[in-house]
Amino acid sequence: MMSNHIKLMQGNEACVEGAIAAGMRFFAGYPITPSTEIAEISAQRLPRVGGKFIQMEDEIGSMAAVIGASLTGLKAMTATSGPGFSLKQENIGYAAIAEVPCVIINVQRGGPSTGLPTSPAQGDIMQAKWGTHGDHPVIALSPSSVRETFDLTIKAFNYAEKYRVPVIMLMDEVIGHMREKVEIPNREDLEVIDRKKPTSGLVDYKPYRIEDGELVPPMAEYGGEYRFHVTGLVHDETGFPSNTPKVAESLIKRLIKKIDDNKKDIFLYEEYKLEDAEIALISFGSTARSAKSAVDMARAEGIKVGLFRPITIWPFLDTEIEQLAKKVNKIITVEMNLGQYAIEVERKACKYAHVDKYGKLNGELITPDEILKKIKEV
């Protein structure tokens, strides 16, 4: 169907194309700048592939409809930005505890509140991790090009399906609206993972039963072979609520462990000119593009700088950051906020390297010149 072809497209468009290639067949959303194109293009594209699109009455309802559709067997996604991301948080927690695969695209804009609707920001790093209440697992990814947005949206669905978790794509306004040349791969070259289903014909089906040595229960769908109950309450392997401390502890610990034990599979990052670097920049999303230019500019002046670009934002790249800190003398985090990712970096790196941060949140992009100046300062 999809041939190997080259297209000029926007990040938001690449996101939808990636989602459809990954098997997305349901989208629920609510208009919000700067993610609206994702809803618009989904509305155009989905019925053509037999999928469903619905514009819900609000952001909360969109997240709810996505979970309902996923429980009914469809790969489902929603897209939003700052204020909408805040509104979705309660139901993101529901998806985490009930283990419902889903993808949430957050095209970040300036905040808090209505903030700077048409300007880029990277201020939702911590909200992606801690936005919903309670300890819970989450995976968050951040693309820094249009092509990578395509690839990472597929990865987002794959992780969601494999680990039965909500996966958050932390895009930003620049990546969402920027147009770049994208070579769309052949469908047969793409790795697409589907949720594991329970075996047929079980006499005593339990929706959250874990096989020995596994951490993720297979998932049935409403309208299929098995009838089952799903709740946002703490539940045992039958899916029914339980107040037992032992059940509560083992459930939440397993939810965390299923991500922690699979970090190797989930950790994605890029290293640029780090081999002999004395200073490492850490930057992601659109900001990493400026950081890469700054590395080249600094190198032209003989300063040994490299770039470490986290692609997986959550779970935090702890072992990798620690390794990096051991190799270099200084680390500078560069992000469009006042140092949200920097907090995590400092925690892991401070023993081995000096950590400095550069942040900006006035709605303007961070330029390579600014980063170069910061490099020279430290």
Binding site: K52, E57, G68, L71, Y222, E225, R227
Partner: protein, 273 residues
């Protein structure tokens, strides 16, 4: 009769239920199960969705596909389920606080779309699970723990609200008029579109006690003595109907159903190929 319904449709290992002595939610739950039995629908083809509150605990006891969601959001989750698999009969069980306060937006929009979901509200005029706070259906002047001097909020007429929003079937009954609940739910499920059935429930523990409504029998008698069938009500003036509970099938019409309309869009592309 009852034991057959219990054996066939309830999750016996989840009983006894958590509802207080004298609460009428169990009566309503049984009436719904009876309606499903009368319609002879395959259990796997039914999905019952609820929000948060006393009424929303019902699906946990009912042996179908069941989903206990977040507060107020049952209809939004149900919309995703119905869109994903329109063959499923989707039923929402909710309460007055769940559907008319925190979930009010989803209620009017599900009605507006005329999506084929049957919504049954267990209206006990109070937030029971949290201990007796006034709800959007607590009558003016009545008390709740958060209305210690009497409720000054005007209460919703839920059936009128959803009719105005676009529902194609509405009906009202009470925990006293059990067979009527069954009949209305049957008709609601049969209706191809958004159906809304309000069932008045009694909460002797909080609403009754706070408002000196007497014992359980007194509260049941109140439902019996103050209800009037919609047909009989037509002949009476507004003044005569003041404080009366109008019960029966209130509204029925036919409009295009949401998932059918969306199916037409999908099919238009299949023809193109």
């Amino acid at each position: 009769m009852s034991s057959r319904l219990i054996n066939e449709y309830l999750r016996e290992d989840k009983l006894p239920h958590i509802w207080c002595p004298g609460c009428s939610h169990g009566i309503t739950m049984r009436a719904i199960v009876k309606a499903i039995d009368n319609l002879n629908i395959e259990k796997n083809n039914i999905c019952i969705v609820s929000g948060i509150g006393c009424s929303s605990r019902a699906p946990g006891y009912m042996d179908f596909n069941t989903l206990h969601t977040t507060h107020g959001r049952a209809l939004a989750f149900a919309t995703g389920i119905k869109m994903a698999n329109p063959k499923l009969k989707v039923i929402v069980i909710t309460g007055d606080g769940d559907c008319a306060a925190i979930g009010g937006n989803h209620l009017i929009h599900a009605a507006r779309r005329n999506i084929d979901i049957t919504t049954i509200v267990f209206n006990n005029n109070i937030y029971g699970m949290t201990g007796g706070q006034y709800s959007p259906t607590t009558p003016q002047g009545e008390r709740g723990t958060t209305a210690p001097f009497g409720n000054i909020d005007k209460n919703f007429n839920l059936c009128n609200l959803v009719k105005a929003a676009g529902a194609t079937y509405t009906g009202r009954s009470t925990a006293y008029h059990v067979n009527m609940i069954t009949k209305l739910v049957e008709e609601g499920i049969k209706n191809k579109g958004f159906s809304f059935i309000e069932t008045l429930s009694i909460c002797p523990t909080y609403y009754g006690r706070k408002n000196k409504k007497g014992n359980v029998v007194d509260m049941m008698n109140y439902l019996k003595n103050n209800s009037i069938n919609v047909k009989a009500a037509e002949k009476l003036s507004d003044e005569q109907l003041k404080d009366k509970i109008i019960v029966g099938e209130l509204y029925k019409t036919q409009e295009p159903e949401y998932t059918e309309e969306y199916k037409k869009i999908i099919e238009s592309f299949q023809k193109e190929r």
